[in-house]
Symmetry: C2
Subunit: 431 residues, 2 copies
C-alpha cells in the first residue's frame, strides 16, 4: 500500500539544520555559532511583565486580549506598526505620502515567516520561479522546495544585488520562456541572512525598475518581497530607506518585518505592508490558516510600542549586538587564517566567512567534521544556495552567528574554529 501523503507532504524535507541543532543540544560543551537565536540575556522579561500585567488587570483590555480578533490583526497594532515603519523610513512629514505606510494594508502575522509562507501560497503555482539572492535564507528555500517551485539565484555583492546580473537572469528567462513563470524577487535587504549584506536604496530602486521592465514580457506583475527581519538590529551606519519609498512601490513591494528579532522570538509577532490585491489574497489565506494571530501577543506588542518601552529596548540591544559583533571581529582577526575573507556586518546576527574556493565547508567536509569533533558549530554556506542549473553550488563559506553565544563562548568558539581551519588549510601562521 502506498502512503497517503500529498506531493507537498512527500516533498517537504527535514529542515537542513535540524540535526545541527540536535547535535548542539546533545553536547552541552558544544559552542554553537550556527543558531539564528537572539541573545537570551537581553530578552525583555521585565517590560513584558509590566505590559501584560497592565493589559490583563482590567477587563476592558484583558477580555479583548484573550478573545478572538480580526484576521488581519488588531487595528491598534496595525496602526502602531504602520506609524513605526513610516518613522523608520523618514516618511514622517505630515501629508507626505502617508499612504505608502498605510495601516489598512498592514497585516499582523505569526512571525514574518508565516507571512512569507502565505505570500508564496498566494502567488506561486508548482513550477513557478522566484528570484533569490545567491545565497539566501535557507528556510525560504525550504518553502519553495516543498511547494515544487524553482529558485533562480542573482549574484550578491557587498552593497546588495548585482543589478547587471539580475538583468542577465531576466533576459535569459525571457529567452527560454521561463519569464512567464517568474512571480517575485525575494530580497533580504538589511543585514542579510546569511551574508550580513545590506542593499542600498539605489539598488532597491534599480531592482524595482528592472522587474517593471520585464513585466510586459512576463504578462503579470513581478513583486518585490522585501524581508526586513534584521532591520532594527543595526549597530553601525545609517538606516536605509525601505523599497516602499521607491516609485511604484505601493503596487509592487511586499515589505515583511518582525518583532521577533528586535523584541522576542517567544512572542512571535510579525507584520507586513502589502499591495492591495495581495493583501486581500493573503488575508483570506490567513483566514484558513488561523483567522488571526493570538491577540494577547498583539496587545503585548501594542503596549510596548505605545509606551516607548519598545524603542528603549531596541536601543539597548543594538549596543549589545554591536559589542558582540566587535568581539567576534577581534577573535576572527586573531584566530582565522588571513586567506579567509570575512564579510563584517553593521547589524543583524551574522558574519560571513569565505574560505579559498577549493576548501569545502559542507556538512560532509573535513572542516565541518573536524569542527564538530572540536565542539564548535557553524552553518555551512552550501545550505543557503538554491538549486540552480546556471551555476555550481558554492560550498566554501560559513555563516557565523554572534546572536546567542555568550561573549566568552564567542571568543572560544572562533578560537576553536580558527584552529580547525589552520589545521585543514595547512597554514601555521603565527597569530
Amino acid at each position: 500500500m502506498k502512503n497517503a501523503l500529498s506531493a507537498l507532504g512527500r516533498r517537504t524535507a527535514p529542515p537542513p539544520i535540524s540535526w545541527l541543532m540536535q547535535a548542539a543540544l546533545s553536547r552541552p560543551q558544544m559552542i554553537s555559532l550556527a543558531a539564528g537565536f537572539t541573545d537570551s540575556a537581553t530578552l525583555p522579561l521585565k517590560i513584558s511583565r509590566q505590559v501584560l500585567n497592565r493589559v490583563l488587570r482590567s477587563s476592558k483590555t484583558g477580555q479583548p486580549a484573550l478573545q478572538y480578533g480580526i484576521t488581519a490583526g488588531e487595528t491598534n497594532l496595525r496602526q502602531l506598526t504602520a506609524r513605526h515603519l513610516q518613522k523608520l523610513d523618514g516618511n514622517g512629514t505630515p501629508g507626505r505620502r502617508p499612504q505608502i505606510h498605510s495601516w489598512e494594508r498592514t497585516m499582523i502575522t505569526g512571525g514574518s515567516q508565516q507571512l512569507l509562507y502565505m505570500t508564496v501560497e498566494a502567488l506561486c503555482d508548482e513550477g513557478d520561479i522566484v528570484l533569490v539572492e545567491d545565497p539566501t535564507y535557507f528556510v525560504f528555500l525550504s518553502i519553495l522546495q516543498s511547494r515544487g517551485l524553482r529558485a533562480r539565484g542573482v549574484r550578491l555583492e557587498r552593497d546588495g544585488l548585482n543589478l547587471a546580473h539580475l538583468e542577465t537572469v531576466l533576459q535569459r528567462l525571457k529567452k527560454s520562456g521561463g519569464l512567464r513563470r517568474v512571480k517575485a524577487l525575494y530580497l533580504i535587504s538589511y543585514f542579510h541572512n546569511p551574508t550580513g549584506v545590506t542593499t542600498s536604496f539605489g539598488k532597491k530602486r534599480g531592482i524595482l525598475k528592472l522587474l517593471k521592465k520585464f513585466e510586459g514580457a512576463a504578462g503579470h506583475p513581478i513583486y518585490l518581497i522585501e524581508d526586513a527581519a534584521y532591520r532594527e538590529l543595526r549597530f553601525k551606519g545609517p538606516d536605509i530607506r525601505s523599497a516602499l519609498m521607491a516609485p511604484g512601490a505601493a503596487e509592487r513591494v511586499l515589505y515583511t518585518g518582525t518583532y521577533s528579532k528586535p523584541y522576542a522570538p517567544g512572542a512571535r509577532v510579525g507584520f507586513g505592508i502589502l499591495p492591495e490585491r495581495l493583501f486581500t489574497a493573503v488575508q483570506r489565506i490567513k483566514g484558513n490558516h488561523d483567522f488571526g494571530t493570538a491577540n494577547l501577543l498583539q496587545q503585548l506588542l501594542a503596549g510596548e510600542l505605545e509606551t516607548g518601552l519598545y524603542d528603549r529596548h531596541v536601543a539597548k540591544i543594538r549596543t549589545r549586538y554591536g559589542q558582540k559583533a566587535q568581539i567576534m571581529k577581534q577573535a576572527l582577526t586573531r584566530h582565522f587564517p588571513s586567506n579567509v575573507e570575512i564579510w563584517e556586518s553593521g547589524g543583524g546576527l551574522y558574519f560571513w566567512a569565505r574560505l579559498p574556493k577549493n576548501i569545502s565547508t559542507g556538512v560532509k567536509s573535513k572542516v565541518f567534521r573536524t569542527a564538530l569533533k572540536n565542539d564548535v558549530l557553524y552553518v555551512p554556506g552550501e545550505l543557503c544556495y538554491a538549486d540552480d542549473p546556471a551555476r555550481r553550488k558554492p560550498d566554501h563559506e560559513m555563516r557565523l552567528s554572534f546572536g546567542s553565544a555568550s561573549e566568552e563562548n564567542l571568543r572560544e568558539g572562533i578560537k576553536r574554529l580558527g584552529a580547525v581551519l589552520r589545521e585543514v588549510l595547512g597554514t601555521s601562521e603565527v597569530v
Copy 2:
C-alpha cells in the same frame, strides 16, 4: 496584464461569515447569535496574569519563554497535553496502552485550525476527496475549497454519522473510481459545529472499521481526523472516549484539540496527536510555516495545566455554558414556532434549528433579511454544507450560538428571531 496570483490565491474565497461579523460590528444594537466566540466574561484574566508573572519573574523560565523553541512544541507542554488527553480518555491505569497518548506524537500548534490546515496540506493534492459530516465546520470547507479539493458529505444523525450512509458513499466512490482520491474523513466528534451533535464511541469505532475496509481499494491509508475542539465545553452527560481509544487508532487517527475554546482564544494554542508518519510530515510543514508556536503562550498553558488552575477554570466555564444553554433553550421553547425542530446540545456553543424544508434561511432569504432588519444575526445552515453533486444543499437551518451573547441578549435575540419566524412562517401561535 493578468494578475500574478496562484490558483490557490485566486480560489481562496472571502470567509462566508466575514460580512456577518462586519454587520454585527457596525450596528451596536445588533445581537449576534452567529459568532463562535467564547464568553468574554469568563475569560481567565486573573490566572493568566498569575502564571505569566511567575514565568517572567525569573530568567530561568522567562528567557526560554521569550526565545525560539522547538517546531513541534515545548516538551513540557507536549507531555502535559498528552497526559491530559490520556486522563480524559480514561486511559490512566499505569501500563495500559500509554503509547496511544504518546507525547512524542503530540504537536503544539497555533490553534487547532493551523493543524487542520497543515494536515490537509500534508495529505491532499488538488482533486483529492475528504469525507465530511453533512453539515460541517465551514472554515474547514474553506480550506478544501481554496486548495481545489472535493468534499463529500455523509449524513449526520443525533448520535453522529450515519454509518450505513458512510458505507454507501464509500461504495459509490469505489465504483466511480473516486475512492483512490479519498484521503480522510473529517469528524467533529464532540458538540459538533454547527449541529451540537456528539458521536458515540461505537460509531467512531465503526467509522474506523469502514475506512479500513475500503483502504485496499483506495490503495493507501484513509485517515480519520477527529476534531475535538469543543470536547471540554461539556455541561451534560458523560465524556465520550476519543477515537484514539479504538483498535488500530495509533496508525489512523489524527486527533486535534485546542486550548482556545476552554481557556482563551486570545492565547491561541492548539494541539494534536498524530500517527507517526503524519507527525513527521506535518512537523516539517510547520517548520516552513513558523518553526513553532510562540513559546510564551506555550509556557502560559503549561503553567495553567501544571498548577491545576486550568482544570478549575474549565469546571467553572462548564457551569456557565450550561446555564447559558438553559437560557437559550427556555427562550427557544417560549418564542420559536413549534414546527421548528431544535437540536439541543450537551456542550459546546451551538444549538441547531431546523425549519420546515420549504423555508429558506440562507443569506438571501426573507428570514435572514428580516432578522438582520430586526438586529439579530444567526449563521445560515447552508454555509455549513459542502458542494456535493449527490444532493441538493439544504438551506432551511440555522446555527444559534449561546457562546458570546450575554444572558439578556440571548433572551432578547431569540425573542426577536422567534418573532421573525412567526412572521415569515405565518403562524400566529399564542406563546
